[in-house]
Point group: C2
Chain length 425, copies 2
């Protein structure tokens, strides 16, 4: 981990073939005729350099960290070690849910670069949702991904010495956690420098939320869980821009915000991004019938993600509970199968409540904070956009403050439909 | 940390003067005339070697880890690194609550030894309680110790990078945590090999507790918090044998079980040991009036520890909240002082509930598990001892299962008095 950077040099389209041409893991895929390789830079511009390198044999993605936030420039330094953490996250996710993430071919710690599988013809899930397209296997894949990575990265499954070693390892990802701690959990709730909201039409509701004591207390309780509840290894930034889909599969990318944190975080962020897509549809589909249909499809995806998550988590609980918590020695081996089931129910309920809380915060920070989402940003009509954003803000507030009081997803979605029908500004 | 042990050699009374005679931090206290030093071994026999080394000028304690559990022998290896963690804990506790722990003069990682202040004429608090003696400042000191170390070791106070580094550091104390994870949170609740209880008179209640599904589920929830809630740096073994008292002061020793864990653990273990002392009094004081008086004094100590803890924690919350949680920027600076107070109330309530839960578990493991307490062990009459222990077991069960439902310490102590009056077997 100390090695990142001493001879670090950013790749360019011109240098990349030469610099990777000696690496067997790369030439195994692209062949040794580096002169025929074609490279293009496709980074979406936030943090890193991303190249597609192709030969007539195959293609790879090369992702290299920059020592600063690309979006902002070198005034916002960001350590190269995030590539180290991303590599460790990817290899663990691949083990815990095989096929769920791009395969890593090669990692160079000093150059902070990862060579990995080029997912093609995949597109970013967020773009699919903005185009009003459906996907058949997305919900199942994501529910399973969350269940498997959360369960298998925790003390429910791992040897405790391995888990403690990973807690220590990922505790080093300080600067990326710091971004989440500030931009997600604090800035949106006061008039912070980097905040923006898209139009003055939101001023009233923004002022109301920032004066809402109950909201601001609950958000900090959730921030406290983020900072201290090292339950499992999380992706840390699981929004619909971190998922790539082809017609029949979905893959999770970009886990550089990896941390040991509370189980509800990944699910909560993920569901929030579907709910925001739901509320943004009036800005994307004019036809009421088609819009209703697509909105209901989005809600059905959320329902399925949660129910697949519960089913798969329960299956793992019953079949793979090899860690030091809720040991079979204490339960099943004593004939107390019901103790095991009772504990499982409690844990799912705790994850449920946390997920709703984190979802609400994600919905706030994407509208009140620095990083917004394309679903809202691309709505040109200011009033319409403000309506969509205001509904997400109201929903978020309900989720945070009342997260312990929803009887299930049906109740959450009933609320979403009500908010969607009402004018909220 | 890797250094422990390569040239490690246990000290003896014969070798200790020679081996410490070149260390300035030691000769500064004892002088250089090592021939006149007197050493005696005073380890109470559980884990470590402990020596008092005296000269005509002064005296020091030398504590050296052994590579195994002294009580059991080399069939139970235990890493020397625990001295490393104890040293780090002691130096942090000394900063966070000055004067609360013995001063460390010298630490040798390779030899796993700490030279520290010899507390004299102090005695172990547990012995004081067994002798039916009162103490004037104990409660205040312990309430403040808990508040200051818990608050100042957390994200409420520390820079988050420092806190994450310490979480990573202490995550290495795997083997000592493993002892707690097994002996405290699991073994007592099934028929584990190392368990014992002191008489067949307890068989019925032991069987009842081990068949109690609600109890066994709640205990594992608390174990999960122990394993994953890295809120603050804990002593990790804060019982009345880890506290030394003179007439007018109390000091905390032996933090080798140090971990980042949930705030309620230290307080809970501490209160549990007072409550067990309370229930053990029929075995120690025959005179009813004197016994009542002493038992009520014990309860008053518990009340004062908790109220001092709350007062001091609240004071720190209001004056030293410099961490990344519940930031003043979000609350006081926005004129929302009530948000800050509301959040404080919630946090104290969470610590309260956790403390009761951990207390209940401590009361169980000291009677059902491997390590018992002298208050009970020294009661010769088997029926009387079983009565005392059964009452602690009942109390423990109530604390674990109903920990969210006590309205305050008065309610807890009303329950203690009721259990103390009833025959419970």
């Amino acid at each position: 981990m100390g090695k990142s950077g001493s001879n670090y040099e950013p790749l360019t389209v011109e240098t990349i073939s030469k610099r990777l041409g000696d690496i067997k893991a790369v030439t195994d895929r692209l062949g040794t005729d580096t002169g025929s390789w074609k490279a293009k830079e496709v980074g979406d511009g936030n943090l890193n350099l991303v190249f597609i390198v192709e030969s007539d044999k195959s293609s790879v993605i090369v992702k290299q960290a920059l020592p600063y936030v690309r979006l902002v420039g070198d005034s916002w330094p960001l350590p190269l070690t995030r590539a180290f953490f991303e590599n460790h996250a990817l290899t663990r996710q691949a083990k815990r849910d095989p096929g769920s993430v791009p395969e890593v071919y090669y990692f160079d710690e000093e150059q902070a670069l990862i060579v990995m599988e080029f997912l093609t013809p995949h597109v970013i899930l967020r773009h699919l949702l903005m185009a009003g397209k459906k996907h058949p296997t997305l919900a199942k894949t994501m529910g399973e991904f969350c269940a498997r990575t959360l369960f298998r990265g925790s003390d429910l499954s791992m040897k405790t010495a391995d888990k403690k070693a990973d807690v220590a390892l990922f505790a080093g990802n300080v600067e990326l956690c710091d971004i989440t701690e500030n931009l997600v959990f604090s800035d949106p709730y006061f008039d912070a420098e980097m905040n923006r909201h898209t139009s003055p039409q939101l001023d009233d509701i923004v002022a109301r939320l920032r004066a809402d004591i109950d909201l601001k207390v609950e958000v900090q309780h959730l921030k406290s869980a983020f900072c201290s509840n090292t339950e499992t290894m999380l992706h840390g930034d699981l929004h619909t821009g971190s998922i790539m889909v082809s017609d029949d599969e979905a893959k999770v990318i970009d886990p550089e915000f990896v941390l040991y944190g509370p189980m509800g975080l990944d699910i909560g962020m993920l569901l929030a991004n579907f709910w925001m897509a739901y509320f943004a549809q009036p800005g994307h589909i004019d036809d009421a019938e088609r819009r209703d249909d697509y909105q209901e499809w989005i809600l059905s995806v959320v329902e399925e993600i949660w129910s697949v998550f519960c089913d798969e988590f329960s299956r793992l609980w019953r079949t793979e509970r090899t860690g030091i918590l809720y040991e079979k020695t204490l339960y099943e081996d004593q004939g107390h199968m019901l103790a095991s089931e009772q504990a499982l129910g409690h844990r799912l309920n705790a994850i449920w409540q946390d997920s709703l809380g984190f979802a609400g915060i994600e919905m706030h920070r994407r509208i009140l904070g620095l990083a917004h989402i394309a679903e809202n940003e691309t709505i040109k009509d200011e009033d319409l956009r403000a309506d969509c954003e205001a509904r997400s803000l109201e929903m978020g507030r309900q989720l945070v403050v009342n997260r312990t009081r929803f009887t299930g997803m049906e109740a959450v979605h009933e609320l979403a439909r009500i908010i969607s029908r009402e004018k909220t500004r």
